[in-house]
Amino acid sequence: MSLTIESPRESAQLRSSSVSVESRRGIEPEADDAALRAKISRVVARTCPPWATAQREDIVQAAMIRVLRVRTRRETDEVLPAAYLWKVAYTATIDEIRKLRAKREVSLAADSSTELVDVRGIGPERVAQAAEISAAIRECLAMLNDARRQAVTLYLQGHSVPEIGRLLGWSAKRAENMVYRGLAELRGHLQRKGLEP
């Protein structure tokens, strides 16, 4: 993937892990570029889809470029809130992942013989099996009622029960009930399909 770096200053900042006095102007004090890059790398590594693993560094690079652009466009010495910089990095990451996803979809459509890509080295059979289970879970989720489906989906995405309650405007008790009953029903549907993940 080619990335365009607009200004020499951005380019220099990206190449160097040290931060000049000038480049620190208007930057949240605790975060120099290297530290921010390391943090973004960790988050991207944790959440980057398996099929985009090979482009992980490009994604981090794109996020850093976007953050640096925001910083360099600031005309005052006002410190940017860390939360804002994280949102900038998030937006860039999502954009990159979506671009990669679109390219992947085009290539999959063009080459029907390559339906599943074994990017994790776990073997084509297990890749196919994993995709089949994932699809089956989605089919079974569709069979649940709205509340159970929403609760279980958030649970499968890694949210805790109290968090599910807060996001959906429910009490913790209701959230727990919906997750518990939803998981039990989901399991039942999967078993009827002969699957036990």
Binding site: P50, W86, A131, L156, G158, L168
Partner: protein, 252 residues
């Protein structure tokens, strides 16, 4: 309240759910909407619509995981990530095992992160009480200086938030007027209307007044009872934006 949810089988399902997805046929969700949802800033019906779509759309599930991870780093995610949760995200290896939900008692902190949060909450309560005392003491002697907004790029809610005046509940499709409270200093307003599934329906970025009549032609295609969502962004002279909450109405 002790949980009846078995953490091990939940974990297996989480791993399976996050497996390599097929291509998505649906348009991607606006990243801002996703960000607000994972941060708990969106209205529950908006979150519910997104989650419903996420249940069938693997690409959105991937995007949600990314948004959530960044929101947690931004410091105001819904919840600090428990160490073991990394396993749920594309098979990553956890540094520490998660505390099983069965060990969690509702309303009580379960780990160091929870204790820190509870500590912060108490800190906030104490600070608010102290502020209230100061406010009462200072009020009779000339009042209190108005709160100065720190000037974030986008602001939501609060005293300067945008309220819906018309455009909630049931609206007739031929006279669906959306009206909102004026934001002092705004140079224009941007209005976004979408379906409950978050597919964009109408958009106007050039509004100078605080109300608009929706195009009946666009609404006529929708069956009665269709729920639509809308929000307004007030654009300030310095490009800052004040974003309304998301409002909902049903087409009649």
């Amino acid at each position: 309240m002790s949980s009846r949810i078995n953490p091990d089988e939940g974990e297996a399902l989480r791993r399976a759910f996050a497996q390599d997805p097929p291509p998505s046929a649906e348009d991607p969700v606006d990243p801002d909407t996703l960000w607000e949802a994972v941060r708990g800033e969106a209205q529950p019906p908006v979150v519910a619509a997104l989650v419903d779509r996420m249940a069938r759309d693997p690409a959105l599930a991937e995007d949600w995981r990314v948004a959530r991870a960044f929101a947690i780093e931004a410091g105001s995610g819904q919840e600090e990530q428990r160490p073991g949760q990394q396993r749920a995200e594309h098979g990553g290896v956890a540094e520490e095992p998660a505390i099983p939900p069965s060990k969690v008692v509702a309303g009580e902190p379960a780990n160091r992160g929870d204790y820190r949060r509870w500590g912060r909450r108490w800190g906030v309560v104490v600070a608010l009480l102290a502020a209230a005392v100061l406010l009462v003491l200072a009020w009779p002697r000339g009042g209190v200086a108005p709160y100065e907004d720190p000037g974030d790029h986008r602001m939501r809610g609060g005293g300067r938030g945008i309220e819906a005046i018309r455009g909630e509940g049931r609206l007739l499709r031929d006279e669906a007027v959306l009206e909102w409270s004026e934001v002092s200093g705004a140079i224009r307003y941007e209005l976004y209307v979408s379906t409950a599934e978050l597919s964009p329906l109408l958009e106007d970025r050039t509004l100078e007044s605080t109300s608009t009549l929706l195009l009946a032609e666009r609404l006529r295609e929708l069956p009665a009872g269709t729920e639509l969502l809308w929000r307004v962004e007030a654009v300030m002279p310095d490009d800052r934006r004040i974003v309304s909450e998301t409002f909902a109405f049903t087409v009649q």
